[in-house]
């Protein structure tokens, strides 16, 4: 039961083959058994989860039949959840009990889901390996010595290890898709503005977007049906009709035009990852799609531009953590300046501090034009690259990450770590929807395939991914877990 997709669990709950309480308890038991070694959860909400599950079962009895009623999920610890620790993976917020629910959390509550807990993450979502968390690194369920990817590493590992049926994550430069790829699950980043950012702790406001981490594209569609939509509390959320994302999953791919960016199959891509993706493309051809090469000529600038824009925004977004109103405050400050300096030096980890410094520098008088303004210009060029490509193709497919999951500590050089997101970052800069789905195993480690769609063409991306998953079994592969050992 535990390994089933949300769609399957939903059917089982509807058919009363299992209750939400039973299901919730099963997941809680698994968390108790495996979380110590995986470190996927920062907070487990055992009591409230069972209360919510009981409520869901009661609602079911009184005729409530909503698709996600009673489904246990986990939220990335970046989403504010009322009355529950919301740490964002940081010592700075180690004592922050959120006084309100993020819109995403609220929507899942309204959908009748059960919150099992809050998942581990890179501190303030800054990282690609989940090694920057104040709560320690998350382990990849496929191999305990390896990272799960980041920053939504806890959510990805929890889904892969069947510690929850589904999870939420956020993606600023690849933070949903890369851990999904490393953990062999499905991770979807919607178009910028599609899901409300209210209550989602900001890293880089113009890039951050919430999305699902789950076991299939079909599940991602179910989650998107809950998450997507205009929110008047988020001025950047978009007022566009929200389609039923499940409705078009079954559409045929005959005649689908798939673009393959030359730049994504170039130097730096590991051979085994490339092989899996090429095999996947053949699969699409057999489903009736047409494959053509495309160019994204400015793709090589995306990482540089991103590491100006994102830290610049972050440097301001993280200014509020000053020890004055909430969160970490240093002991015995002698004056205001001392309180600021020590609270922030002690409360933030190295990667966060590095990015605050980089961002502050990029915005400084005399450097703004050379860095921030230029990065924004590159951002427009990258967007244009995609617009041009989408005149000829319906979706763009490539690898999610140049490598499979790497070992803990393997990327000690920050720039090497940043390059892990070379295929995903451009998508955030352009604000497009994209999914990562399992497309193979190489040496018993998952490989993720990246499918990028046009602005607000989420339904198409999910349809393409779902058709692949109907034809293949990669998303059904499971890691074999060892309990209790790190």
């Amino acid at each position: 039961m535990i390994e089933k997709t949300v769609a399957e669990l939903s059917a089982a709950l509807r058919a009363r083959k299992i209750s939400s309480v039973e299901l919730t308890q099963t997941f809680l038991d698994r968390i108790a058994r495996f979380n110590e070694s995986l470190n996927a959860f920062i907070t487990v909400c055992e009591e409230s989860a069972l209360v919510e599950a009981e409520a869901a079962d009661a609602a079911r009895v009184s005729g409530d039949d909503r698709p996600l009623l009673g489904i246990p999920l986990a939220h990335k610890d970046i989403f504010c959840s009322r009355g529950v620790l919301t740490s964002c993976g940081s010592k700075m917020l180690h004592n922050f009990i959120a006084p309100y629910d993020a819109r995403v959390v609220e929507l899942f509550k309204e959908a009748g889901t059960v919150m099992l807990g809050k998942t581990n993450m890179d501190e303030f979502a800054m990282g690609s390996s989940n090694e920057t968390s104040h709560y320690g690194p998350v382990r990849n369920p496929w191999d305990n010595r390896r990272v799960p990817g980041g920053s939504s590493g806890g959510s990805a590992a929890a889904v892969a290890a069947d510690l929850c049926a589904m999870a939420t994550g956020t993606d600023t430069g690849g933070s949903i898709r890369q851990p999904a790829a490393f953990c062999g699950i499905t991770g979807f980043k919607p178009s910028y503005g599609r899901v409300s950012r209210w209550g989602m702790i900001a890293f880089a406001s113009s890039l951050d977007q919430a999305g699902p981490l789950c076991k299939s594209a079909e599940d991602a569609a179910l989650m998107m049906n809950v998450m997507a939509g205009l929110d008047d509390k988020d001025s950047t959320s978009i007022d566009r009709p929200v389609p039923d994302y499940s409705a078009h999953l079954g559409d045929s791919l005959k005649g689908l035009k798939i673009g393959i960016p030359r730049q994504h199959f170039a130097e730096g891509l590991s051979a085994d990852v490339e092989q899996s993706i090429r095999d996947g493309l053949k699969q699409f051809e057999s489903l009736g799609a047409r494959i053509m090469d495309i160019d994204l000529p400015n793709n090589h600038l995306s990482v540089s531009a991103y590491y100006v824009v994102a830290p610049a925004e972050a440097s301001a977004n993280l200014s509020r953590y000053d020890g004055v109103r909430y969160g970490y405050r240093c002991d015995n400050p002698v004056d205001l300046e001392d309180m600021y300096k020590r609270s922030r030096s002690e409360g933030f980890g190295d990667e966060v501090k590095r990015r605050i410094l980089v961002g502050t520098y990029a915005l400084s008088a005399g450097y703004y034009d050379a860095y921030y303004r230029k990065a924004q210009k590159i951002r427009r060029l990258i967007k244009q690259d995609f617009s041009r490509a989408f005149q000829d193709v319906d979706v763009i497919i490539g690898p999610t990450s140049p490598h499979k999951a790497f070992e803990l500590g393997a990327k000690s050089d920050p720039v090497a770590m940043y390059l892990e997101d070379i295929y995903t970052i451009a998508v955030n800069l352009a604000g497009l929807p994209a999914i990562s789905i399992p497309a193979g195993l190489a040496n018993s480690l998952p490989v993720g395939m990246h499918i990028v769609g046009q602005d607000f063409d989420e339904a198409r991306v999910l349809n393409v991914a779902h058709q692949f998953q109907l034809a293949t079994n990669w998303h059904r592969h499971k890691p074999s877990l060892q309990s209790g050992e790190a």
Partner: protein, 476 residues
């Protein structure tokens, strides 16, 4: 040396919206500390701003009132600095694309001439909270009630040439925002704040001298004093061979001096960049036109109308329109009494003197416009004389019964009954045979004495015209 003063003002006006610029919290003044700060105002993680449309509309109203270009695409920026009463660690403001561009307003100089003062720009921004350093047992308290209150920062061109002009500009700005109903603009409460950039240069020199910025000026009177003081300070410095340092200076009204606050050279680098949580504000032509259609009559237009339609002098009209409340009061009085000149004399004369004596604003006038209007109406219809009216005016302060009742009950009604007047005249003639003879002998001026006697006898109530006429007839 003959120095010329150059002044530019930066005026912050608190927009009188019900709620804050980016959150739904109330902006009411004087509430318990931190009772008006919601999760956004407290900068809780994950919270986001939503622009208050009313504030936007008010800013556009102002722009149209000073003939300014309206920014069709205005952008909010983050101004970064750390301070405990700035919860987000940045202030959301507007740098490159303000909502209001170049405009102008005209001021009246001491010699009665008009001068056009350029407005460089006006932009929306959020206010900070307040740090309270007293009453906390050696610690500092923070009150975030004010944090996020919408401000309009109005920047003038360096067109002002002396402190009197600066005050005239500030008063005109005050009048305009009050007419527009977009701010209480009470300097003492901080809902209107003024910083002055002051420099001097030898008369005839083209380039500006080094300027200083004076902060913390919280009344019209202090604006004049602070600038004059600063000009003298700069003159002394330069004439002694010294140099003016570009810096921010704080005005201390107790000591009537400015003193250095911080040097601009070590000023913060605010690292402005576009606020990514807010999309650029795109303004449609139709929106601007709708706001324009709702604009009230502004001081200059009203003054012109008072002169052309009501026949007031330029001076009277200027005084009456200088504040929206006074103009409204005056117009109510005119509507009731039907005599604009009489109304103008009373409002700018007796009423102003009374308010000055009691130190009251016209909005708190102890005699309401409808009562003053009723009083003047009785002068106009000759029920009472102007002189009697002044005593009724004083009575109105203590007695809130209707004007006509007071006139009636105190028997102040002018006597116009010819029988009664005849009796008065007869009594006066009988009592003053000598003077009557003088009049008969052609000493015209003695008639005035007899009229006076009759008025005295009537306790001022007799109609002096009628008395005069009847005396002439009887003595002839």
């Amino acid at each position: 040396m003959d120095w010329e003063t150059v002044i530019g003002l930066e005026v912050h006006v608190q927009l009188s919206t019900q709620s804050k610029l980016f959150s739904g919290t109330s902006t009411r003044f004087g509430a318990e500390p931190n009772s008006q700060a919601n999760i956004y105002d407290l900068a809780m993680p994950g919270t986001l701003p939503v622009l208050n449309k009313t504030a936007l509309k008010m800013a556009v109203r102002f722009g149209l009132a000073v003939d300014a270009e309206i920014g069709r695409r205005s952008v909010f920026d983050r101004k970064n600095y750390f301070y405990p009463d700035l919860p987000k660690g940045y202030q959301v403001s507007q740098l490159d694309y303000p909502i209001v561009g170049k405009g102008s307003l005209s001021i009246t100089l001491d010699d009665g001439a008009e001068k056009l003062i350029g407005i460089t720009r006006a932009h929306m921004e959020e206010d900070a909270g307040k740090s309270l350093h007293e009453d906390f047992h050696g610690r500092s308290g923070i009150d975030l009630n004010r944090a996020g209150t919408p401000l309009l920062e109005i920047v003038s061109e360096p067109d002002l040439r002396n402190a009197r002009e600066a005050v005239a500009y500030l008063k005109k700005l005050h009048a305009i925002v009050r007419y527009l109903d977009i701010s209480d603009a009470i300097m003492a409460q901080g809902s209107m704040r003024c910083d002055a950039n002051v420099s001097i240069r030898p008369r005839g020199q083209q380039e500006f001298g080094t300027r200083t910025e004076i902060k913390n000026i919280n009344s019209f009177r202090f604006v004049e004093r602070a600038i004059n003081h600063e000009v003298e300070r700069q003159k002394d410095l330069l004439e002694d061979g010294g140099k003016v340092v570009q810096e921010t200076r704080l005005y201390d009204s107790d000591k009537d001096e400015t003193r250095s606050m911080r040097s601009k050279e070590v000023a913060n680098d605010y690292r402005y960049f576009p606020e990514p949580d807010l999309l650029p504000v795109e303004i449609e032509e139709s929106f601007v036109e709708a706001v324009r259609a709702e604009l009230p009559e502004l001081p200059d237009e009203k003054k012109a109308r008072f002169m052309s339609e009501l026949g007031l002098s330029e001076y009277d009209a200027g005084v009456l329109v200088s504040s929206r409340d006074m103009a409204e009061y005056f117009e109510k009085v005119v509507a009731l009494c039907g005599d604009a000149k009489l109304a103008a004399n009373w409002v700018s004369g007796d009423l102003q003197a009374l308010l000055k004596r009691l130190d009251l604003e016209i909005t708190d006038a102890p005699i309401q416009a409808d009562r003053l209007g009723a009083l003047i109406a009785r002068i106009k219809d000759k029920t009472i004389s102007g002189k009697i009216a002044k005593s009724v005016f004083d009575t109105l302060l203590e007695d809130d019964s209707p004007v006509d009742n007071i006139i009636e009950s105190q028997g102040l009604k002018q006597v116009t009954d010819s029988g009664a007047i005849e009796k008065l005249v007869d009594d006066v003639i009988a009592a003053n045979p000598e003077q009557v003879q003088q009049v008969k002998d052609g000493k015209e001026q003695v008639l005035g004495y007899l009229v006076g006697q009759a008025m005295k006898l009537s306790q001022g109530k007799a109609n002096p015209g009628q008395v005069n006429e009847m005396l002439r007839e009887k003595i002839k």
